[in-house]
């Protein structure tokens, strides 16, 4: 074989040495190890939550409001609803602004103003969540003279925007210029192309960004402390203090009562399950709309 190679003038490839094989195996082993290390805490947390929390989840927990101090029983139904309400408001405000900013950065932001927006957005991403809470307090609570679901939603929306904006920008930049040109070539205007072609092509990536932002703020407590504030009762009004799972967990976990501790564990488990199911549901819906070969 080696002779044939040299006859053709091609360099003879030496056999793979044991050292290269060993390095190959070592690197593969290391990368598997890092995956295990990264995933281990996630599974450990989830397993521990199930272990501590599953016993306290029952119909009452999911359908009743908290019982007064000293009484055993009751549940977090109002907090589950409150979290859903606040996250709904946050998504309603945060997703359009985030995607809009991302579109601007990718399609019109190749200039100094765009660079400034990118910088500000990255800084905003690093602002501690409690500070965002204070901002929402100043913007909404002080004016309304009320703690409210709206204030909580605004705080979480502000936290969602930079993540969504930057991932949207990255995903749109991945859409080949040739796809945009194809649309221009058909006499489609620029805004139409952005809306119906570029955004649509990048949809699955943008949804990943939205879900990341959503999952990140879903469990936030600090920005809700003095915005949504918490509530022992049902509330569906946007301008009234509203319970949230994370707030309820915080209050109950710090309390001196064993029953509240158990409920805090159960609340944590419910919160994680809700986030995971919300993300999974969106993924399934998106996948269903896909065409063969897309």
């Amino acid at each position: 074989m080696a002779d044939t190679n040299s006859n053709l003038g091609a360099p003879v490839v030496p056999p793979i040495s044991w050292r290269r094989r060993a390095t190959d195996n070592l690197m593969t082993g290391l990368s598997i190890l890092t995956v295990v290390i990264v995933l281990a805490p996630l599974f450990a947390i989830f397993a521990y939550l199930v272990y501590k929390g599953i016993g306290s989840i029952n119909l009452a927990f999911l359908t009743q409001t908290p019982k007064p101090v000293g009484e055993v029983g009751g549940g977090m139904a109002n907090a589950i609803a409150g979290t859903a309400l606040i996250l709904g408001i946050a998504s309603l405000l945060g997703v359009p602004f985030g995607i809009g900013a991302g579109v601007f950065l990718s399609e019109y932001g190749r200039n100094r103003f765009g660079d400034a927006v990118r910088f500000v957005s990255d800084v905003l991403n690093g602002v501690p969540s409690i500070v965002i809470g204070i901002v929402a307090y100043g913007l909404v609570v002080v004016r309304q003279k009320h703690f409210s679901a709206l204030a909580g939603g605004v705080a979480l929306a502000i936290m969602m925007i930079p993540t969504i904006a930057r991932t949207t920008e990255q995903m749109l930049l991945l859409v080949p210029q040739a796809i945009r040109e194809a649309a221009y070539g058909l006499g489609v205007s620029r805004w139409r192309t952005t809306l119906s072609i570029t955004l649509r092509t990048a949809t699955s990536g943008i949804i990943t960004g939205v879900m990341l932002a959503f999952a990140r703020v879903a469990g936030e407590t600090a920005p809700l402390l003095f915005t949504a504030f918490g509530n022992q009762f049902w509330n569906w009004k946007l301008n009234q203090p509203t319970a949230a799972l994370s707030l309820q967990i915080y209050t109950y976990a710090l309390s001196p009562f064993d029953d509240w501790h158990r409920q805090a564990w159960a609340g944590s488990l419910v919160l994680i399950v809700l986030i995971v199911s919300a993300v999974a549901a969106v993924r399934i819906v998106v996948r269903r709309g896909k065409l063969a070969g897309a």
Binding site: A178, A183, Y184, V188, R192, T201, G293
Partner: protein, 252 residues
Amino acid sequence: MGVGITVEHLNAFYGKTQALFDINLTVQANHATALIGPSGCGKSTFIRCLNRMHETIPEARVEGKVRIGELSVYNGTSATQLRRRVGMVFQKPNPFPTMSIYDNVAAGLKLNGFRKRKQLDEVVEKSLRSSALFDEVKDSLHKKSGASLSGGQQQRLCIARALAVQPEVLLMDEPCSALDPISTGKIEELIFQLKEQYTIVIVTHNMQQAARVAEFTGFFLLGKLVEFDKTEKVFTNPSDKRTEDYVTGRFG
């Protein structure tokens, strides 16, 4: 029906770099015109000036006059209006990956606000038939993505997509450079049929292709139009020495 194209004193720039120098030529209606020349000579830039695609690149600009039929391209016509009458097929097939085959072809009409279902169906079928793709895809029009087709099929899909908006001129920027000889053959056959209805300008690196499909040929070199004449004359009896060197393979 196709319309003719007149180009007068066309200069094109990318920032400070001049890419085209004083181009003058006339393209006959309902004929195929081929543009040849070595890489980087300005053929693609030139063809992109005809439908104002050149100016979508940051800092690119154009000077001079281009008329397509009675339309003055750089004077009082909006780029989107113009592009509906001047279709374009690109070097690399670029179907919209998230759209079905049907939606790819209907895209030009739908995105411009045309929504009559029955007429859309007719236009899509007619366009796919014109690009000789209909029989291969008729069973999966709505089921498959445009990106799931083979390279040659994708390019014919892009031609169908361009035809669906019923342009008068079809610009083709090296439409066969990513295709195998069989797909290339199909597209050349297609160009032959399409000339009856459209004016075709095709950029190509393949001189045999130019000789096969086009009645007129222009030779570009370093941003200048060196020679423009009947294809036969350009290939057998060119009047410029540089053209002769290029077509006989002495350089480039």
